[in-house]
Symmetry: C2
Subunit: 301 residues, 2 copies
């Protein structure tokens, strides 16, 4: 046991000299499952099953990644949208938007192609189905965070995405190919999802949160929140959001700057009494007020 302990995973990781040769030592290393210091060996029984390390150059830790994009780089917005749409049916809204954007960025190489393509699967339905922030928007925010060098522009793009999602009539995207899961369930679709009718399915929900966005849309269209029409809506919304992120990033990469759309005038008026520096009821928010505080629209203060 003593000899085995001298070659545990953590020891190996600490030996710079092993480098690539370490892969061989790794897989060949034998230790029992009772050895607390040796879990990786169970995951790498053979050298072929050990993941190869990245090549020299840009690494995941080197935030932000804009520095590794070629000059004049632009995302293919149409490709992002279509991949995001299909990704929705393979892991939800956050996965769809994240993988739609990352699939294009990964073509550049490291460090984009070192990120887990499945990183966004946790975010579906407003994070684990809880109804918090829209998963597609959260995916866009994560990508904006990985890429954008200019801190002010990065925050502005995140603000724009959430604010835009509160004002936009979703869904809009007309997929190039309809997902097999949607075709299989076509008999269960209650609404007309043909391209010509999409304009009649759009609803401005006033919220960047999954719960309010989905519930409001389903109520407006008279469909269940756990049915196939909800899936058809959110798959297209996922493409819409991912496309918006791609368009924003392209604009920023072209100019080096980004300014978010402004808070609505009614919410600005709320701030005259409820500014962050006021008391007794200060408000910390960049959101529109009226969608939740509709009772304050009349007869207030």
């Amino acid at each position: 046991m003593a000899e085995k302990k001298e070659l545990t995973r953590r020891d190996l990781l600490g030996r710079a000299g092993l480098a690539f040769g370490g892969v061989m030592a790794f897989g060949a290393l034998a230790c029992s499952s009772e050895d607390d210091d040796c879990p990786l060996v169970e995951e790498c029984p053979t050298p072929e099953e050990c993941p190869p390390p990245p090549e020299p150059g840009p690494q995941v830790a080197n935030l932000p990644y804009q520095q590794f994009l070629p000059a004049n780089y632009q995302l293919d917005v149409a490709a992002v949208k279509e991949t995001a749409y299909h990704g929705y049916y393979n892991g939800g809204c956050c996965h769809g938007a994240f993988s739609g954007l990352l699939t294009e960025l990964a073509k550049v190489g490291q460090p984009f192609n070192l990120l887990p393509m499945d990183l966004g699967k946790f975010g579906g339905g407003g994070i684990a189905g809880y109804g918090s922030i829209c998963g597609a928007s959260l995916a866009g925010i994560l990508i904006q965070n990985f890429v954008t060098s200019n801190a002010g522009a990065r925050a502005a793009m995140m603000t724009e995405l959430m604010r835009w999602s509160e004002r936009e009539a979703f869904p809009k995207y007309d997929p190039a190919t309809v997902d097999p899961a949607e075709v299989a369930a076509a008999a269960d679709l209650q609404l007309d999802w043909s391209a010509g009718n999409l304009v009649n399915l759009g609803v401005v929900t006033g919220s960047h949160l999954c719960h309010a966005s989905v519930s409001t849309w389903c109520a407006a269209k008279g469909v269940a929140a756990n049915g196939k029409d909800k899936l058809a809506r959110c798959a297209r919304l996922t493409a819409d959001v991912a496309g918006k992120v791609a368009e924003m990033m392209n604009a920023y990469l072209s100019t080096g700057a980004f300014t978010a759309i402004a808070l609505d005038e009614a919410s600005k008026a709320c701030g005259t009494c409820h500014g962050a520096g006021s008391t007794p009821k200060p408000v910390a928010s960049g959101m529109a007020c009226a969608s939740c505080h509709s009772d304050k629209a009349t007869g207030h203060p």
Copy 2:
């Protein structure tokens, strides 16, 4: 130019054989700033400035990372909290919680130590100050997503974190050392932040969103949302949330399972009419209803 084009960054990245030797070729490679294929050279003028690649073994792409934790691994909850508290003053709530948790996990080695320690800086103030999901909770969710193998337990831990944050009286944490920024601003603090008085500063806000949580707490305590007391509150809340994540992870790692606390009874009752499968007003949410829909508490339907 043709010869230079043959050794661009992307070409180098595509040549497995270059491996470590590629670092030298990299830094020595010369190309003009007009060469779109050669941006990395501008970032790596010398070999010393190129980041070294990770060693063989666990890589960032190999989600989830629980497989790389030693058996019987447990996070040091006290260390997580204290690092998270100080991290708040160096990058906000999301950065505090993320770096507090990752600092401990990175001691295990790869792939934890390959993640950007600053990944969470985007999330402060409910993402870029927008007031969306609490950044400390978002950081915890990101860490849970990186680590947890069991998909059901992963979702349950995320649900528990958001639901717990709606019911807990924050702030609670009493830091081992007070942050210099807090000491410098002590003259501006209006509330009594001594350990013995913390219990009188706690408020249950009913929301996992930054906007409602911060605004409600500041209104309850009669302080501004952009003042030093708000910072003192959210620094401690950041430690509270990061500690909760560490405790949940330790419980899960000990048992291999996790079950979230249940939705409150009043919200369950809402679901009898507004279940996700109902029409015309289906609700998609795991959140408590009453904190936002207080007007439905009486006289409804």
